[in-house]
Symmetry: C2
Subunit: 218 residues, 2 copies
Amino acid sequence: MLKVDTKTKILDAAEKLFAQKGFDAVSLRNIVEIAKVNLAAVHYHFGSKQALLHKVVSRRFRPINKERLNMLENARNKAGKNKLKLEAVLESLFFPIFRAQANPKAGISFTRLIGRVVFDRNKELQKFMLSELTEVIIQFSKAFDEALPNLEKTEIDWRSHFMAGAMAHTLCNADLLSDFTKTNANDSELEITVQRLIDFTAGGFRAKVSKTPNTKKR
Amino acid sequence: MLKVDTKTKILDAAEKLFAQKGFDAVSLRNIVEIAKVNLAAVHYHFGSKQALLHKVVSRRFRPINKERLNMLENARNKAGKNKLKLEAVLESLFFPIFRAQANPKAGISFTRLIGRVVFDRNKELQKFMLSELTEVIIQFSKAFDEALPNLEKTEIDWRSHFMAGAMAHTLCNADLLSDFTKTNANDSELEITVQRLIDFTAGGFRAKVSKTPNTKKR
DNA sequence: TAATGTTTTAAACGATCGTTTGAATTAATG
DNA sequence: CATTAATTCAAACGATCGTTTAAAACATTA
């Protein structure tokens, strides 16, 4: 077993604790206790608690988002001149991050953290997340447009929003669900979970758009 | 304008701040400053910060959950001996809480708070929320079973989970979405938002269940 | 009005927070 | 080996946290 450097020890401990309890509920002293490093090491290596959080996120999120874009590119190539398939777009979006969940090294901690982050209203964090996701948002927005040529742009945006909620909740609260359904949402069940999420969200995207009961205003 | 009692002033301020920044990020001193009451009043009236949070939630959540059950009961009666309609079940679940969002008194604060709470990993809060939702979970679980007689129980549970994520995200991050789509998710748009969420989630519930590519394990 | 119960208040409690400092230690470089 | 740079460390900084106390102010009832 080779020596793990201080930076990594801090990142691992912070990842675990932030995912478990949230950013504000975790102190740097909690983190250095788990990481078994000195308190001042956090500021030496990362500068601040907020900067540490950003590093915790980007360390795992960047490779995941790269792979999302790769998978989408592959799906495009495979489709050729045929229409891009909605299920392929969704799989490109879900699979890389859910596979990170099954990875014993990153573990369930990180994906849970990502789920939490989506619902966190830490302004700096939101700005940071948006910047990390810029390219993914652009490319997948285009992809949804292509895969759903008969759906209005506004509706696509709303349904992308709903889809993001379903995904985030599943990432964050997978444990609640396994209590619920007796199936465990990890390991070999990974593909099944992703397939279930694809089925549901694809069904949602393809649902008929009903006109509202009465648009009294305007 | 009649005098607002201290308890209500604290509840209102806490609701606003918890929704804005989250439980851990808000101090009692932040709350009493907004509420314009003495710091010790919080413990005098509520006992602790955690107990205050529970009260903030239950004050608005209980009437909402009562109305959800009422609407579900009405939907059942209207259906008579016909099969309960999925859209009616979903509307019973969504409408009462989204209407609270449009209510200028409760405002967007509370629903955002509820959205956040779903993703919060405060153990005591989770237990409390579960106890507040017991009857709703029982009745709506039954209703989904009735409305989807051809869908396996396990699949219903998973899809209920996805649906909850879509709902929570919409409650919590409605503002992000209105930036996105230029439509505003309040006021007269209430019915439209709910209808969109019904369309999406109903489509998800009704989607075909695809067998996983290969169930290698087992 | 006197007595009793309820609510509000200022002040302090010990604990913990993120961050900074400067010296001790280790690693790298000439 | 000497010197410089990088890292670790114990200790402390001021600020803020949730909670408690006990007296003051107010309201209610006899």
